[in-house]
Symmetry: C2
Subunit: 203 residues, 2 copies
């Protein structure tokens, strides 16, 4: 793609959707309330703070999971490998209001160390979160959790606490049930390049 | 990676950082206030609502950009191709308090259609955003913008408004100045599989 490729402006009609901000890593949120367990894939999510360690997941206010999340005091954030894409798609294209997803899709899970959030056995990493805030933005609510436990498969992390992409190929979402993963051959480390600060800063 | 790989729990010390929630698409936020223009790469960001179309970017409260964002009424979200990773890393490892990044790193930009946010010429897509809210979560502020214009290179989008990964290789961040991009050969479309809803729903 040339840097001189012409640009155009897109004007969205009211309610029209645009997916050009993807790919985004897809995680699966797990929640339990009054014995009902549910799982939903979420691409709209982000880390929000280092200290305290906060993670936010954005869920449509008409989703069944939304009401569970409003009532529960905790949730889990499950990171899955690309081989589980079909499962994740099924979790997204079904509703916990109609079925028990964990039975329908044979999902094994344990219970968190510090909360009753369901921890997916398949996940290579899971954040167990205590819900701290729920903030409505437009048609979705951002549920903000404090990460109280990180459960992770051995060898998934490097010593510097970055992901070992020799082992993990995470699920990236492109919109409209299209998925993709990373190209490990493209890995590029620039951490040894000089910094551009004039005043010396901690890295 | 076998699903039977044993798991362990990680307990973070106070202030210790963990990067296992990456990779995340890296965007560059552009902001202008009182003639000062600045650009900063952000991996902590997400779409927040379809209608209205809201996009949030999380910026550390000690960053120079944070004060510009607090004062300005608009910002831009710039999506760049993987070939520009060195530039993006330089924008992250420098401070607008010390240098004019646009001069130091030769960044060409135009001015937004509806705001004075700087639009990077290099970007394959840019969201021009009107700031709507700024919410502090821990040590970062989430700046929420309403997307008022989408400026995009021709051929970058498919007809269904998803990204054309034959043309675009976005920058994904892994933490600590490590980067990676997508493997276009792994593209998987599951949109023709049956849904699992019992009650018929709109897709």
């Amino acid at each position: 793609m040339s840097d001189e490729t012409p640009k155009k402006n897109i004007i969205l009609e009211h309610g029209e959707k645009f997916f050009g901000y993807y790919p985004q890593l897809l995680i699966v949120v797990g929640v339990r309330y009054c014995g009902k367990v549910n799982f939903i894939p979420v691409a709209w999510k982000t880390c929000l703070s280092y200290t305290p360690f906060l993670y936010g997941v954005s869920i449509g206010k008409n989703r069944f999971t939304h009401s569970l999340m409003q009532q529960s005091s905790s949730f889990s954030v499950n990171f899955l490998n690309y081989e589980h894409t079909h499962l994740v798609r099924s979790l997204g294209r079904s509703s916990g209001a109609e079925i028990d997803k964990e039975k329908e899709f044979n999902i094994n899970f344990t219970t968190g160390e510090k909360t009753d959030a369901p921890i997916m056995t398949l996940a290579y990493c899971t954040f167990e979160c205590l819900k701290q805030e729920a903030v409505l933005f437009g048609d979705h609510t951002l549920f903000v959790g404090k990460v109280v436990t990180i459960e992770i498969k051995e060898n998934v992390m490097k010593e510097d606490k970055t992901l070992n992409t020799d082992i993990v190929s995470p699920i990236l979402y492109l919109g409209i049930d299209n998925f993709i993963t990373i190209d490990n051959k493209s890995f590029l480390s620039l951490k040894k390049l000089p910094l551009h600060y004039k005043v010396k800063k901690k890295r």
